[in-house]
Amino acid sequence: MRREGSAFQGVGAVFVKELSDNISSVRMLMLELLIVLTAMAALYEAITALRQNTAEDPFLLLRLFTVSQAPLPSFVAILGFLIPLMAIGLGFDLINSEHNRRTLSRILAQPIYRDALLLGKYLAGLATIAISLTALWLLVIGLGLIFLGVPPGGEEIARSLAFLVIAIFYAGVWLSLAMLLSIVFRSPATAALVALGIWLFLTVLWPMLAPAIAQAIVPPDPRFAALGLDTPGTAIWTQLLQRFSPNDLFGEAMLAVLSPTTRTLGPVFLDQIRGAVMGAPLPFGQSVMIAWPQTVGLIACTIVLFVAGYVLFQRQEVRA
């Protein structure tokens, strides 16, 4: 079926309206406050820890992102936890709120395709998150400059920018999930609860379940256990299963990008280590190559969820 007119007609108008709604909303303010406060706490701990060994580390700035000081997890770990919350907070009522306000049929009676509404809303949500994360990123760089007193090198900037981009992709996954649920469930409360349930499952339960399932598939070999090593088969399955969680993909990509010494994200076997110079940092391009599959995984996940929402929404009856 050939369509007349651009599928993107109206995307701009929807985008502008939604973005200004998002930015001026109380909900967004609360989410941002939550993220900034927790991130600042993590940063404060990191800075205190790092001040003791200034200048020894060539990637001091990057360490700001990854160093953790008990009881707080690292800045990146906190973001891995909170970005989904922010995306869900923005997305759980994208479509069903239009149904409930009875604005949907009026808007869809305007000369736009349904895709335009979906895409405009999605992009506005993503832009909102991107703006917040960029502000946060600038904050980290600024605080690093002030408290550590070391100007960041070009590679550090490049790596931290890669962090920013991947974090936005990661947010995209959760936003498209939330949007899908806002299409499936007419009640925003239900959509939010289901989204939070999935988030809790994938961040808290799945990391515990995955090893258990892996052990059921490939029982650990007592000979490896005797040496204090993981059974290779079990380890491979564990990782494979864990990668079904976007959190895991995000964590791995972050590790590759922010810790230049990371050489592989898979289980490390002795034959791979043979000949490698331990602890030597990889060039930026190589680190990006390592993080690439995870990043693509995040993007693919977004696309699948978005398309699912799109297909459902196209066929949905709009009575309100």
Partner: protein, 328 residues
């Protein structure tokens, strides 16, 4: 487009909406069951029927807001399922219980819709100001819609259709929930639209209002069109007569002369000087002439216009208690 449509176009020169065996099924139940109708350019057409008869569903299919199960509908010659933008660019829609963004003002709400229509900034503000003036909302143009009453929201919805300069305005229950004064004002706005050449399709179960503005109506019953036509036509069809004219006059052979007037059905002689006749049009002028021709003296001439209420009651056999159909 197909032959069938050309045929119907020949019959009714400018059918702007043409439905052929239009059907909507939910599962196995047909809520709109193979209906056919043509709406001519510039007329006000009323969809009438009890709750759940399928009026809204029919409207949704015309706008591509729900899928058509069988048959088809052409809106200005376009297929709403395949050419939705062509249709939606030319058709304005005021949904039942229309919603607006409460945190935005009237102007902001209209501006958003106007942007989606693809209007440029200057054109937008010009049309919005003009439309708000017409629906008398200009003084609250910068107030949040959250503060608006039901009547104001309905008028704002109509303003959106005016901004669009729609060729067809589809209004779903536009006056439900309005007080009598607001209803009269809203109907005046509908008449203004008609005067500008806009074709209006409205659904309602408020009979006397529909009667006041509609050129033709279709009575829906359980997904089918039970009957269709002008109110006068329907009353002839259902009640056996449209207008009832009473004449009080003396003179010779008046009854005979009255019966000879074209369009008059039977003439009843109530008394020596009182006659009651049924007619399919308002024949008062002819009756007066007949009395004069008989050298009679005309004392009284009255007409009972056909009432949609009576037609509806007969058509749907509404029980005296009323409201029972809602539960069915």
């Amino acid at each position: 487009m197909s032959e069938q449509q050309n045929n119907s176009a020949a019959k009714r020169p400018e059918a702007v909406i043409a439905a052929r065996d239009l059907t909507k099924r939910y599962g196995k139940t047909s809520v709109v069951d193979a209906i056919n109708f043509d709406i001519a350019k510039g007329e006000v057409f009323g969809l009438l029927g009890p709750n759940g008869a399928g009026k809204t569903t029919t409207i949704l299919m015309m706008l591509g807001l729900t899928e058509i199960s069988a048959g088809r509908v052409a809106v200005l010659g376009f297929d709403p399922a395949r050419q939705p933008l062509q249709v939606k660019r030319r058709v304005g829609y005021l949904p039942d219980a229309v919603g607006f963004y409460d945190h935005l003002t009237a102007v902001e709400n209209l501006a958003y819709a106007a942007k989606l229509m693809g209007l440029g900034m200057a054109e937008r503000s010009r049309r919005i100001a003009a439309a708000l003036t017409r629906v008398r909302l200009l003084d609250v143009a910068d107030k949040r819609v959250a503060t608006f009453s039901r009547g104001m929201r309905q008028r704002l919805g109509l303003a959106e259709i005016i901004v669009k300069r729609a060729e067809i305005a589809i209004l779903d229950e536009p006056t439900s929930g309005l007080d009598p004064q607001a209803t009269i004002e809203f109907l005046d706005l509908i008449r203004e639209l008609k005067a500008e050449g806009v074709t209006v399709l409205l659904s309602s179960h408020m009979l006397d209002q529909v009667q006041r503005v509609c050129d033709r109506v279709a009575l829906f019953r359980a997904g089918k069109i039970a009957m269709m036509g002008s109110v006068a036509e329907l009353s002839v069809q259902v009640l056996g007569a449209g207008f009832v004219v009473e004449v009080e006059a003396d003179g010779a052979g008046i009854a005979r002369r009255l019966a000879a007037i074209p369009g008059v059905g039977n003439v009843e002689t109530l008394a020596d000087d009182r006659f009651r006749m049924t007619a399919d049009r308002d024949v008062r002028a002819d009756a007066a002439r007949a009395v004069v021709a008989a050298n009679g003296a005309l004392r009284r001439l009255s007409v009972d216009e056909p009432s949609l209420e009576a037609i509806y009651a007969r058509c749907f056999q509404v029980p005296q208690s009323g409201g029972v159909r809602d539960a069915a």
